[in-house]
Symmetry: C2
Subunit: 510 residues, 2 copies
């Protein structure tokens, strides 16, 4: 180990120094250009900030759901139905629309890779309007027959589209800001036309929807749904057909920009940043409430509990449990996501879609956990809350697994060698991704059978899963060894063979 | 332009390809090692996620402040005094303590630069306890004479310290996880001893404070304050003395690890990530409330407003204004921060401290803006709310300026050439950083003189500042040209001379 480690260290250091010098060169060349252009900058941090803003906004509509007080004496089913009809729908639709706006933002800044002050300010203005979208949307949901909500929504979308068009025009006026692919190409104006065409389509339809809303409001909702979903449905159908008929001639990635093709590349860095934002907000949602609501009033403590703070805090026990439970689950789902994306080399739009679905379920987790601890022991409500939690965990996990399955379909482009079929980390990754869905499913069925012990089963699950992750590598090795022992005891250890075989796969991902 | 641009493009592409190949190599070498070690990973995303969590937690205690209802009929001064005594103090102290925990986290992960699954899970557990700190702190503030709060707080800190010690022991057991500097050094065990010594100091004092709290509770508060602030005060005094006496022999950066020296390096990436998180949460704080509270009830609209949604929404006008105003201000302060850190090459602990102070003020902005619009026109309350807003903006901006001033003291290490004294972006950067403090100060004094027109003056400020940023470069050039014309009309354009002079400074930053 000593020598290889030392070698690696030296290599690392050399690499880092090179990168530093390169950065310095880049910075300086950027600086000396500042006299002719105004100074251009890497867009990295602007995008990180935008991702943080959008991820907060995407999850914000879960708060009205979480703060809806459920009465103990009424059945959970009724309350859930009440929630389902309005607030959960608003949450899911907001999540969808905000992530669509985010996807459009990614698309835009895959074309524009450097920014200057002017673009940064335009982007901030754009963000301000995007953060206002959830509110217009909840107005639309609360007053479906009033055209004010739809007008506000359309106005926001139109202004966002307008700003995006201005950004595109501005960037094509200063080609230094564009991605190298477009900078190098001969027909920049074709790109410009195509991009503007795609961007302008949405605000124009919104304008139409706004006008129609004065005459026949249902039609304008149809128009909006139409403009949002059509490109995706259309492209999904086309892709399914091409997969079914086997016409697998993929166009090169560069041509896929600004199409809605499922294989259109999606910046991996931004998918990670957005996911981090959502996981971070969701993990802390309950502590936000706890900090605000669960500090008892000194006067009340003195009157009701004889000044005993411990007795007063014991009432909040379920809230603390819910917080730690949901933090652990969200944190571990983040951990799985992190492990997966460490081995993903390229993200496609379809993987992004599955990721969004997974995140949408994750957003509902704190609420479900809060419900779990909010009802009297062994009540029907408690059982249902626990089962809902299991279902949410299952879908959050299964969509993560889906990302990997989709990645495996074109593994030579999207995955690093060690997690491909036959890679030495393949089984381990599968175990990591499958752990939560399997445990959630098992817990669900166990609570169906042993409904009396549903709460202990659920708590046992909460406690054992983190430890399972800690020793997962050992478990997987033991499992593999057991399988080998049972099915083919005379064959040599396959891992050694696999690693030797894996070498030819180690070509750099293009 | 064409040729230089094309040249740069080619250079860029070559650079990026190199980086890609390097990453690939690193990834592969990491992969092939996975058989002997368990797989090690870059810690980048773990740290980004931790930064997101900590930034949310640092700002969360502003929510109880923001949700304190101020009555119209009582004087703002009284309510502000009421707030100041408890909730704002809790907010500021929480912000301080959480950022101290964050600084310890940075310190730890500057030593440990690669992670594996086990470290990731330990870190998540550590995060869970850090997110619980604000709650224990607000218990302490609400019940200062009850030792439960202090016990909970000490328990959290002790467990956090224990986990950090475990992380250090684990990492020194697998040296591949450590930073190259320590990997290469002969006396790893000396480092280990030193780091453990620093880490264990805090939980041990907390243990003492917890024990003392049973006997004499005031003493335990003193102990806690002592352990938190002493290293900083001590180091600050030492640093001031060395500066005053001119003994400017700085030890090399590597020896500064795990000291509390103001020049101890602080990962610039993490300062940026933390700041982005705080700015993003603060910018959206008001929309969180708006989405939850400001959707009118359909029944109320029908009864009170004759079904006119517009009339119902007009009541919320001030809330919208407050939202857009605070979003714009926070967004522009982020923009200034972003511009500054683009030109910062290295961050020191002192710069980090000023950054934290700036962020603490930024956290109070949404609240101040909400107050601004929450009182009747031309009332004394409104004037005071506007003046408080100005003061907060001023301090947020002046601390940003402070970061730059501190950076200028050791500019050869901390700043990129173009913003150093005499660099061609120097004046422009000064203008950017000084714009908000100047405008805030001007608005403050104007509202003192013309107290009748305070609201229009404030709104005018809100509207003009974004445009001022858009045309700032032009303004600075015009200003410089004017100065030149007035003071020395016969000299040639100094910018050209400065750029030629600037060349020798362009040595790569070590």
């Amino acid at each position: 180990m000593g020598e290889t480690a030392q070698g690696e260290i030296a290599e690392h250091r050399a690499e880092e120094e090179e990168v530093e010098v390169e950065e310095e060169v880049e910075e300086r060349s950027g600086g000396s250009q500042a006299a002719s252009f105004s100074s251009t900058q890497s867009s990295h941090r602007l995008l990180a900030y935008s991702d943080a803003l959008i991820s907060i906004i995407a999850t914000v509509m879960i708060l009205p759901v979480a703060h809806t007080k459920l009465e103990d004496n009424e059945e959970l089913k009724e309350s859930v139905q009440l929630l389902l009809t309005t607030k959960i729908c608003v949450y899911l639709m907001t999540f969808l629309i905000v992530t669509l706006a985010w996807a459009a933002h990614i698309r835009l800044f895959q074309v524009i890779v450097r920014i200057d002050d002017c673009l940064a300010l335009l982007n901030l203005f754009c963000m301000m309007l995007i953060t206002f979208l959830p509110y217009t949307f909840s107005l639309m949901a609360t007053f479906p027959k009033n055209h004010l909500g739809i007008l506000l929504f359309c106005a926001c979308v139109m202004v966002i589209g307008l700003i995006q068009a201005v950004i595109v025009l501005y960037a094509f006026g200063r080609p230094i800001l564009l991605s190298e692919h477009i900078q190098a190409s001969e027909n920049q104006s074709v790109y410009k036309q195509h991009i503007l065409h795609v961007i302008v389509r949405v605000p124009l339809t919104c304008l139409l929807a706004a006008i129609v809303s004065f005459i026949f409001i249902q039609l304008s909702y149809v128009l909006l749904a139409f403009v949002i979903f059509l490109p995706y449905i259309f492209q999904a159908l086309k892709w399914c057909r091409s997969k079914a008929l086997g016409q697998a001639e993929e166009p090169p990635a560069s041509i896929l920009l600004y199409t809605y093709h499922p294989n259109e590349p999606l910046s991996k860095e931004r998918v990670e940043a957005f996911s981090d934002g959502v996981y971070a907000i969701v993990a802390t949602l309950l502590i936000l409430d706890i900090c605000e609501d669960n500090v008892p009033d000194p006067a009340v403590v003195k009157r009701q509990y004889d000044g005993s703070l411990i007795a007063a805090l014991q009432d909040y026990g379920p809230e603390y449990l819910a917080y730690f439970g949901s933090f652990a689950t969200v944190g571990l789902l983040w951990f799985v996501h992190h492990s997966l994306f460490l081995h993903v080399a390229k993200t496609t739009r379809l993987m992004g879609l599955l990721n969004t679905l997974s995140l949408a379920f994750v957003g509902g987790l704190p609420l479900a956990y809060q419900l779990t601890h909010g009802f009297p022991r062994n009540s029907r409500n408690e059982l249902e809350a626990i089962q809902i939690s299991c279902v949410i965990i299952f879908f959050a996990g299964i969509n993560q697994l889906g990302i990997w399955v989709v990645a495996l379909y074109s593994e030579r482009e999207t995955l690093h060698p060690c997690v491909r079929y036959g890679g030495h980390e393949h089984v381990f990754m599968l175990a990591k991704l499958a752990l939560y869905p399997c445990v959630a499913l098992a817990t669900f069925f166990l609570t169906c059978i042993l409904s009396k012990f549903s709460a202990p089963i659920f708590h046992l699950m909460e406690i054992t899963v983190p430890f399972a992750f800690l020793v997962l590598r050992l478990l997987v090795r033991a499992g593999l060894a057991l399988l080998r022992l049972v099915f083919c005891p005379e064959r040599p250890d396959p891992r050694i063979v696999l690693e030797e075989e894996a070498e030819p796969f180690d070509v750099p991902v293009a």
